[in-house]
Amino acid sequence: MARHAESTARRIWSGARSDRTRALLSLGLLVGFGSIGTYAYWSDTAVVTGGPITSGAMDLQFDTNGAVGNGAGYAKTTITWTGLAPDERKAFNLTVKNVGNPPFTYLATATRGVSPTWTFTGSPITVQLYAGTAVADTTYPQQDSCTGSPLGTAQAVDTTNKPLISTAQEIAAGGTQSICIIVGLDPAADNANQSKTGSVSLTFTANQKP
C-alpha cells in the first residue's frame, strides 16, 4: 500500500514537473497582469496602467535657503515697516522654489503673526500676493506695486487663515516662481492704531502633482 501511495505522489510530482504543465501554468501570468479582463470586471475603482513611479522627497523652499526640509519654517524678517500710515502699501519680494523631485502645486494663507503681540485695533493690516517683483513708490503716501498680476484678492489679516491664492500655482521639479507680497494699512484704519504693532505669518502648502 505504501509503495502505491509513494508512486502516486511521484507521478503527480512528475506530472507537475512536466514541460507542458509548467508551460500551461505560465498562462496564469496573462491572467495576473491582465489578459482575460478579470480585474476590469471586479474593480469598481480607478485603474491606471503603468504610470510613473516617483520616489525621493518633496521640499518647498524660499529665497536662498529658506525653509530647507519638509515642514520647515522661514523667518522672513524683511517683511517689516515702521511708520505705516493709512492707505500706505509696501511690497516685498519672495522667491518660491521646488527643490524636490516631483512637481507640485501650492496655495498660501495669511494670519496674524505670534510675535510681537498684535496691538492693532481690529484687522487694519491687509496682505495681497502678486506675481512678479516689487516696484517701490518714492512719493508719500508710499504705495508700492508689483510687476505681475494678482494671485488672489487683498485680505484683512486676522486670527483665521485667509486664502491668498485663488488658483493653485504650479512649479516643476527644480523650478522657481517670483512672487510679490503687498502689506498695507487699511485707508480707514481707526486713530487708535497709531504706534501699534503686529506681524503677519504666511502658510504655504505644496501638494505633489499627480
Binding site: 505560465s26 491582465g34 485603474v47 520616489s55 515642514g71 497709531q194 501699534k196 504655504f204 505633489q208
Partner: protein, 321 residues
Amino acid sequence: MTSRAAVVGRLREAALWLGACLGVLCLLLGALALVFDVRPLVFRSGSMSPEIEAGALALARETPAKEINKGDIVSVVDPTGTRVTHRVVSVEQTDGGAVLQLKGDANSTPDSETYTVDKAYRVFVDVPWAGHVVNAASTPWGLLICGGFVTLLLVSAFGGRRKEDDEPGPPADRKGGRQATRVIAGAATAGLLVTTATGVAPINTMAMFSDTSLVTGGTLTALTVPPPVVSCGTLSVGTTRLNWTAVPGATGYTLHYGTGGSVTENVGPGVTDKTFTGLVTSGTFSVEAKINYGSTTWTSVASNKKRYTVLLVLVGICSDV
C-alpha cells in the same frame, strides 16, 4: 549533448520554472481578489516611507468603514479621482460612514481634506520593489513581453521534440504536436491582444507628498502723529502770541485755550501761531496735530502746555505749566 545544448537546456528549465511559478502566483492573486476582495496596490509615490517606499506592491482588503481604526493604512479616492493611500490619524464614525483624516508617514502634516467613506481598502501586507516589476509588466510593452515569454514556453513545451520522448514518434504524432502548438500560440496571442485592448492592470495608488512651510514676517509698526511743540512768541502790551512747530503732513491743528484749555478751535495746516488780545485774558494753551487720510483722521497727543495772560496796559505773560 554539446555544452551549448546543455546551457540552452538549463535556460529552458529555468524559464519553465519561472513561468510556472509566476503563473501560479498570478492565479493565486486572482483567486484572492475573487474570493476575499483583495486588491494589489502599486505605490507610485513615497510619502508612506520608510514603512512603504515608492515602487512597493501592497495587498489591500476591502473593509467596512466601521472596522477602520486609527493607525490603519487605507486606500481611498480623493475628489479629483486620484487614489491616495495613507495612514489614518483620526476616524470619526457617523451615520453617513466614517470620516477619515489621513497622513503620509513621510509628510509633516495630515492631508488637507478629510475623506468620508462607507468602505475602504485596508493594506495588510507589502513587498518592496515588487511594484516596479508589476508596473513595468502592466505597460503595453510589458504585456507584450509577458505574452511573448508565455508563447515561447508553450511552443517549447508542445511543439517539436519532447525531452521525455527520446525515440522520434511516428510522423502522425509529430504533426499533431505542431498543430497543438499552433492552436495554443494562437490562443495566447488572442488573449494578449484582448488584454492590451482592455488595458487591465493592478490598481496604482499615490501616497502623495506634501510640504507646509510657515513664513513669519518681521514687525509692522503704524505711524505715530507727532505733537507740535509750543513756545512763547512775541509778548507786547495788550497781546500775547504763542507759536508751535509745524508737523509734516498735518492737514490741520486743534487748539485748546481759555480757562483750563476748555475752548477748542480748529485751524488749517499753514497756521503755526495764535495771538491773544483783550482787557484781561488768561488760560492754558495746547495744540494737537491732525492728519486727515480721507476715510479716517489721526490726531496726535496734546503738545506741551503753556499758561498765558493778556493785560491791556501791560506786557503779556507766557510761562510753562
